[in-house]
Amino acid sequence: MNTVVGTRPALTWAVHIAVFVLVAIWTIPTLGILISSFRDKDQIVTSGWWTALAPAERNIVARAAPPSEAVEENGRWVLRGNVFGEASGSVSAFGISIQRPTEFAPGVTAETRDGETVAVGENGDYIITYPEQPEGERGQRLFVTTLEPPKFTTENYETVLFSEGIGQSFINTLTVTIPATVIPILIAAYAAYALAWMEFPGRALLLATIVGLIVVPLQMALIPLLRLYNDIGVGKSFIGIWLAHTGFGLPLAIYLLRNYMAGLPREILESARVDGASDFEIFRKIILPLSFPALASFAIFQFLWVWNDLLVATVFLGNNEEQLVMTGRLRELLGSRGGNWEILSASAFVAIIVPIVVFFALQRYLVRGLLAGSVKGG
């Protein structure tokens, strides 16, 4: 295939550029969240994350000291101070009216109609002079544009992990995910073996039913199960959600594993049977180790699905600190902290980092599972 394109350099370049654009579109949104999560929270709201490395321009309104504090110097009444107060910064422009907040360069002396003069230095020091002794407690407003160096911080992560409850939600999500991944694999593996290698009446019908159930929408199951849980007293508990995820994941698991197990060579099984091994032993000692790739594929699917699930967790778990999972927390933050991007971006990143690591580490198995599940007609 490469030869076809290789003969046309222009086309090769077009391909490189097109792929680059695609990759950019598919990674930039995530990158934006990642970069923002490390930025200072004041800088996030004043400049786009793509300018994170450039000094941030900020407009602040400072109020000078009250005119009554002015002291007389050489016939004029003078007020001195710093627009940043205790902090520090660098002034790139200032103004004395709200209409023209960037009228003057630092160091220039501006004059008002009343004969006052105002000067703001680059380091923020201001000097205001009055022709006569001024009165009043309200200081002159100074509009200052500053350039702040880019600030990066891990403070956002500390906030979300320890005071916004993301840390606890992380643990809750783990508690939901691990058993909800292991239990269906175990149950599905036994069932898949029975469907692939054991003879019993009704096998084809059972398999067809299971394949049919793969696509049953979850929405269907929510209300009946919620009612059932309340009736039998399971209520909102981890056991309840493990079993729910097990039930919803099983058809696909059985289907994937059965397809894989049915493809294993018959000779191995038959020679083991001749040697007197029971089905239980054959399954444990031969089939299970040989099916590892398929088990791994499904484990990754189920892990990603359960970790990322919002619907099942919202329905079958409570909204309290001990049970709220990360997706639920994230959704809650979107509602309550809609504009606080430092909280949202750090929270989102904590929520997506585990699946992304799993994804990159085990991509091979994931792809294999996808191909087994889809190309064969699921």
Binding site: M1, T3, V4, V15, V19, L22, V23, W26, P29, T30, G32, V45, T46, G48, W50, T175, P179, Y190, A191, A194, L195, F200, P201, G202, L205, A208, T209, V211, L213, V215, V216, P217, Q219, M220, L222, I223, P224, F238, I239, A244, G247, P251, I254, S278, N308, D309, L310, L311, V315, E322, R331, W341, A348, A351, I352, P355, F359, Q363, G377, G378
Partner: protein, 384 residues
């Protein structure tokens, strides 16, 4: 499932019936005993450890986790052990014992799966149909009033319209981008890295992706610095900033972008495998005949992978019908973006009307049904 075995086996004679019933009885007994034994051990373990380390929350969670998995494993071990003790593969009746054990064992293996799937997927279908003819709490008979309400309801109509939009746009766009990405990345040296990066959003939750895209769509009033990428680009080009997710009708498309972004990687991976599976000869023949790369792609390659394209299309279609998290997190159905799955959730949690919610769920089920029937048909054809 023991019952289905009874009905599936043709009853030839009375002895046959008796043996089948015996098998069913033994199966259920052994399963129950195995389950009881493993649960008893797990609960005992929990009580014991809880007694030694009282109120440690993290430990509690870890413990319940380990014991839950152990109980599950214990069932298989205990029930099989029990069966082997009941019908030992040695002694006077080896042959008879083996036959009996072999009749029971498949059901021991299948038991938990059949029970769980039956309870969590098959039973709800029946129960939902029943609920759809009942009132809000599911207790009073309501006849067809839920369906009549649905037929006249504006929110439902809006949801159906939006779902149809989603069904047209998302599978088409995803398959299209997936196909382009697959075809292009297969031709370059760094294609695998590119693939990984395009595939990555698959690992991100719908809610996480919603946060990511909400940041892209972020809106500040005109004149102030835009921190959302889309508005920054628009104002950079001289346009006016927009609150994208509130723009009627078009906001649907901004939500669809999120799902397309997530799913393109999936389409790409599968289509790329299919493209690589095309026999080299057909392409070489086309090259010799002087076909251009575009002709090869559209006239030789794409027609050969139609079956795979259909699979990708249907898989995404099913996903789209169930789309919920994105709408809930981005707009919660406001500004004309309601979809069926979220509407159902709304009636379930905020409307607290199980009858109406079940009716909406049934509509989703109905839309999936043709795909379900097709899958079953294909499997039956494949196993015969």
């Amino acid at each position: 499932m023991a019952l289905s075995q009874t009905s599936a086996a043709p009853v030839a004679s009375e002895t046959r019936l008796v043996s089948t019933l015996t098998t069913a009885f033994v199966t259920l007994t052994v399963m129950a005993a195995g389950l009881a034994a493993s649960v008893a051990v797990a609960v005992a373990g929990y009580v014991l450890i809880d007694f030694v380390f009282p109120d440690s929350k993290l430990l509690d969670a870890a413990l319940v986790m380990v014991l839950g998995v152990a109980a599950c494993f214990g069932y298989f071990w205990a029930s099989n052990k029990l069966l082997d003790t009941l019908y030992p593969a040695s002694g006077a009746h080896v042959a008879a014992n083996l036959t009996k054990a072999n009749a029971v064992r498949p059901w021991l293996f299948l038991g938990p799966a059949v029970i769980v799937v039956g309870l969590y997927l098959a039973y709800p279908v029946v129960n939902s149909i029943w609920l759809s003819f009942h009132g809000p709490s599911g207790e009073t008979w309501a006849g067809t009033s839920n369906y009549e309400w649905l037929a006249r309801d504006g929110g439902f109509r809006e949801s159906v319209r939006n779902n149809i939009l989603w069904l047209i746009v998302v599978p088409a766009a995803t398959t299209f981008f997936g196909l382009i990405a697959a075809a292009l990345t297969d031709r370059i040296a760094w294609g695998n890295i590119a693939k990984s990066l395009i595939f990555m959003p698959m690992a991100i939750s719908f809610v996480g992706a919603s946060v990511i895209w909400k940041f892209i769509y972020d809106y500040r009033p005109a004149g102030s610095e835009q921190i959302g990428l889309l508005n920054a680009i628009v104002t950079g080009l001289g346009g006016d900033p927009q609150a994208w997710i509130t723009v009627p009708f078009w906001n649907n498309f901004f939500l669809m972008v999120v799902l397309i972004w997530i799913q393109t990687g999936f389409a790409m991976v599968i289509l790329s495998a299919a493209l690589r599976g095309i026999p080299e000869e057909t392409i070489e023949a086309a090259v010799i005949d002087g076909a251009s790369p575009f002709q090869i792609f559209y006239k030789i390659k794409v027609p050969q992978i139609w079956a795979t394209i259909a699979v990708v299309w249907t898989t995404i279609t099913i996903l789209v019908l169930k789309v919920f998290d994105i709408v809930l997190a981005m707009t919660n159905g406001q500004w004309g973006t309601q979809v069926l799955a979220n509407y159902m959730f709304d009636w379930m949690f905020r409307g607290l009307d199980f009858g109406r919610a079940s009716t909406i769920a049934l509509v989703i089920m109905l839309m999936v049904a043709p795909i379900m029937a097709w899958n079953i048909y294909e499997t039956k054809k494949g196993t015969k």
